[in-house]
Symmetry: C2
Subunit: 358 residues, 2 copies
């Protein structure tokens, strides 16, 4: 994605360092931070310098590659295994994180030179993520009419992946094909990734959009203002139940009520074949402070944190919810658009990718 006339990925690795776009400061400040070692990359994942399913996965892959670089050359395995455990603990919900760790670890273990193999696999994963997102855009754009109003939640754009994104990729592809799209961007409390990141991305790409409060969906749909809803995914269980940003399940229920198609866009790496159903997906609970306080620049551009809730009040802050498969019209994946059934997901996972993956 181009920012200030230059092409960027959300996360990349060069010379042992992992570079990340600092998403906590976006959209008010565009800054790239460098992480020297795997522990710093863990911090970046934990503090959400990098966030979003695919970007977390790529960062985790790079972090494990960093661990191989840091480990004693003679016997890297004890160090690397500890590092893998540390990285796995940073965020519990995104399947892409565990998928990336497994892939990089397995590739290193099978290789003559684990260090080189880990680096190569982490890079391949990041490249695949970008390629998958691009394919999701191509498959998804077929669902978008020549004039279309689309709603989305949180940020499943290029900032949430290595490039292109998932929920936003079909929108970018549709706009590039000359379709007239308009996007209702849900603010997505408490961290406002919709109002901050998605609105910034769409503005950057010149796509018409407006921000709406999170619970305005029913009002918009009741008036026929939304043609379709596209959300991303952090983990898809084997039966199609999907964990994504808190609020996604609610949007799916409301969409069903108004008969608005509700799509989940995600690479097949988000599918967890070992997870039988949504009931088994761990849901991260984050700090109450994310709900009780809010940060942003004041009129002089100085970053401030203010209290937005009654002093002394507590808050409950589950970061994700699970949308039952029956409420999802279809999944948009890099291998095509499929119904979220156990059988269809199994076929998908065992199908030959439509395009070479590496």
């Amino acid at each position: 994605m181009r920012v200030h006339g230059k092409d960027y990925r959300t996360v990349w690795m060069k010379g042992g360092r992992v570079y990340l776009i600092e998403q906590n400061r976006l959209p008010f400040e565009f800054r790239v931070v460098a992480s020297r070692d795997y522990r710093q990359t863990c911090d970046a994942i934990r503090t959400m310098v990098v966030r979003g399913a695919g970007a977390i996965g790529a960062a985790a892959g790079f972090a494990l590659a960093q661990a191989f670089l840091e480990a004693p050359a003679r016997n890297p395995w004890p160090f690397v295994k500890r590092a893998r455990t540390d990285i796995a603990k940073t965020r519990p919900t995104a399947q892409n994180l565990f998928y990336a760790l497994q892939r990089v670890f397995d590739a290193a273990q099978a290789a003559h030179n684990p260090r080189t193999a880990a680096l190569r696999e982490a890079q391949a994963l990041a490249d695949e993520d970008a390629a998958c997102s691009r394919s999701i855009g191509q498959h998804g754009t077929a669902l978008i009419a020549r004039r279309c109003t689309i709603a989305t939640i949180c940020n499943a754009g290029w900032l949430a992946f290595v490039d292109y994104g998932t929920a936003l990729a079909p929108i970018y592809a549709a706009a590039a094909a000359g379709k007239k799209v308009f996007v209702y961007v849900h603010e997505t409390r408490p961290r406002c990734q919709g109002a901050r990141l998605t609105a910034w991305e769409l503005g950057n790409a010149g796509i018409a959009h407006t921000i709406v409060p999170d619970h305005a969906t029913a009002h918009l749909m009741a008036q026929g203002k939304i043609d379709l809803f596209i959300a991303g995914a952090d983990r898809i269980a084997a039966n199609g139940d999907t964990a994504n940003k808190i609020g996604t399940c609610e949007k799916a229920i409301v969409a069903r009520h108004y008969k608005v198609p509700f799509y989940i866009a995600a690479p097949t790496a988000t599918i967890d074949p070992d997870c039988a159903s949504g009931a088994h997906i761990p849901i991260e609970e984050r700090s109450a402070n994310e709900v009780l306080f809010q940060s942003g620049p004041d009129s002089a551009g100085r970053h401030r944190t203010i209290r937005t809730a009654a002093p002394g009040a507590s808050a409950y802050n589950p970061a994700f919810d699970v949308t039952p498969a029956r409420l999802i019209t279809a999944l948009i994946t890099e291998r095509g658009v499929v119904r979220p059934t156990r059988a269809a997901l199994q076929r998908l996972l065992h199908s030959t990718p439509a395009r070479a993956k590496r």
Copy 2:
């Protein structure tokens, strides 16, 4: 309601002045402002110094009484009629505002001394509002089990009325009766009246509660964490369709999905017999800035306004939505709990009040 050991109403009139609790500064600062004339009272309604269906109604009644005091004694009517138009324009959705204007105007017109009659009627309206809220609490508490988890949206507590409130009145009554209640308070973006006002009220009253992001309802209900939902109302059409804070319709859809009872608590003054259905209720659209910016105290207690959305982004900010009657389990009114059907509402409006109203 007691604040700092003293009993307060939300709005009252004394010696030609209207006194209002400044709700824009709550919960960070408790301050009472005095309005000298009807135009200042209009400003207070428009800028939401006073907000909430019943409190707006009482303030509007007092504003019209002020206009009678300000008008030339010999022929007050041209001045008063202009004032009535001005007051009616402050907020378009709350039925209580129009109800209060009609009542005060009619009482003055029928009286020998219009000025005295207007003052008396405005005061009677405020007293009735408090009495109605109290009765709503008594009727509503029967719906609350000995251990009960209740969710609410926005603020339909005593701050939204003259005293007691509507959605919160049954909760206050249940707690007073020794029931163990726990309240999930929806933050209620963009103005956060849940996180600010309802959390403050409940904390003040010693009732256990926690704040949740607005679109976390489905997640909570999926886990069986909410026994019932109670919301307030700004206008109820003759067929039971109900306008209330944006998000209410969405909550009702989600509640129906999970078979959680969904109640609207409101005095019969909120019913607009001239409004055939929800399609005829005007929905106020407020400034995009309410979505794009947020105010509150920083850690030093200084009030700051920060940007919470991408620079240059727009926002759509409908203040209310309409919940279709079929999604409402029942209305809790001062005259009892009724199903929201056209026939039941008609019976309700023509029934003798359970308690003397004046």
